[in-house]
């Protein structure tokens, strides 16, 4: 049986909690506002480092960080969320586009990739920009097998042919890492699918302005 006294006793703590929550919210919102620019700049520096590793900055004259387009293709880009594509141009002519696609089937969750493609559909290179793979095994592309990602340079949908676009164990052309097959398999598949997406959307990817 709830007594009226209980109800009255509930009011004060509730008000106290609400006040504390409000004070905390104000404090956090202030801090978020103070740090927002810095955090955004850090993100830009971070993505720019990966872009520079793929495409030499002197080969284009626009700012790919602002010349972006958001595309949605859950089947080919590995995520239902919008995917950012950075466009690089020189004198208005397309030089490359870098698509932030997802390899959804990594060993420990999805891997975030940056796939740079030249006009015509030839791969410029691939970077893994975020992942959770097992240290020492699935992350071999970062240290032990550091040249592995370089092998994507110059490949396209027809080179190698479709049935060989997978790891050696599945009859393909790509080496796996010692002790880890799932990670390279996921990356190869995601790169291939990103290329397929590019082939079907090349014109749209370079179109000016944001999509409506």
């Amino acid at each position: 049986m709830a007594m009226p006294a209980d109800k009255r006793n509930l009011a004060r703590p509730t008000v106290t909690l609400v006040i504390i929550a409000a004070v905390l919210t104000v404090g956090l919102v202030t801090l978020a506002n103070l740090t927002r620019d810095r955090i955004a700049r850090n993100q830009e520096v971070w993505i720019k480092q990966h872009l520079d590793a793929l495409v030499a900055p002197q080969s284009y004259d626009n700012d790919p960080l602002t010349d972006t387009i958001e595309v949605i293709a859950p089947d080919l880009l590995g995520t239902a969320a919008p995917v950012t594509a950075y466009r690089m141009r020189k004198g208005g002519l397309p030089v490359a586009v870098a698509i932030r696609s997802i390899a959804p089937d990594g060993y420990r969750g999805p891997l975030e990739l940056l796939v740079a493609i030249a006009p015509g559909g030839q791969l410029i290179g691939v970077q893994v920009i975020r992942h959770n793979e097992t240290p020492g095994l699935g992350d071999a592309f970062e240290n032990r097998d550091a040249g592995w990602l370089d092998k994507f340079r110059g490949l396209s949908l027809s080179k190698p042919p479709q049935q060989r676009w997978t790891v050696r164990r599945d009859g393909g052309d790509f080496d796996a890492f010692t002790g880890a097959t799932i990670t390279p398999r996921a990356i190869v598949k995601a790169v291939r699918r990103t290329l397929e997406f590019y082939q079907g959307n090349e014109d749209r990817l370079y179109q000016d302005g944001k999509p409506r």
Binding site: I20, A32, N42, G136
Partner: protein, 230 residues
């Protein structure tokens, strides 16, 4: 059946800190042992950030700031708190603190903060657990000193584990120092020996538990040597 006695028991079980009175006697030794076990358990989620020295240093520094700050804040608001909302309020305050720490890391130590992943937010749980253990702490000063001591203990444990795990797992020390100290620190990395894969187990989560076990064993061994005269 809702007998008055059962009702009382219930209330006792639910009340969060029965010993909040100011001059409560220190807990018996058995309680202290229980407390240290809980502290040990509270340490476990933090082990994941001890795979390199730099991560351990960075996280240890955060712990050193967040723990005393949380104690001070909670002590400051406690006088307005009804006993029934001490726990939700501790959660709110520590979650807020940890969120602030996360924003700070993302703004000033972006890469290091990213490598902490979910374990920085998880720190809130540790703070609450340890704060709840301080039921008998009388005045603010004692509580503060105690939380600083706990934080120092956690930081030192993390650093010791980081040293051992990075050395065994990668054969290096201070790799990635640039993420904590800025780009000049790149040359701080010491390559002790060169390994292809290192001793992988040391870097994986089980390695953290094994290292912690060894650390506790060493501590117990030293404590026993001290207590038994030669």
């Amino acid at each position: 059946m809702n007998t008055p006695a059962a009702h009382n028991d219930d209330a006792e079980g639910l009340s969060v800190r029965p010993g909040a009175a100011s001059n409560f006697p220190p807990p018996p030794a058995r309680h202290r042992a229980f407390g240290s076990t809980l502290q040990l358990l509270a340490l476990c989620p933090l082990l994941a950030v001890s795979d390199t020295v730099v991560k351990a240093l960075g996280f240890g520094a955060l712990v050193l700031v967040i723990f005393p700050l949380a104690t001070l804040l909670l002590a400051a608001v406690r006088r307005w708190l009804d006993e029934s909302i001490v726990l939700p309020c501790s959660l709110l305050v520590t979650a807020g603190l940890v969120t602030a720490a996360e924003l700070f890391m993302r703004a000033w130590f972006h890469d290091l903060g990213a490598s902490f992943g979910v374990f920085l937010p998880l720190l809130a749980v540790n703070v609450v657990v340890i704060d709840q253990l301080q039921t008998s702490s009388a005045d603010r000063g004692t509580a503060l000193i105690r939380s600083v001591r706990i934080a120092v203990g956690i930081a030192l444990t993390l650093i010791a584990l980081g040293l051992a795990r990075e050395l065994v797992g990668r054969g290096s020390l201070l790799s990635g120092a640039a993420t904590l100290f800025g780009s000049w620190a790149q040359q701080l990395e010491i390559k002790v020996f060169s390994v292809d894969m290192g001793f992988l187990l040391a870097l994986l989560p089980p390695g953290a538990f094994i290292s912690l076990g060894l650390l506790i064993a060493a501590r117990n061994w030293m404590a026993r040597r001290k207590s038994t005269p030669p």
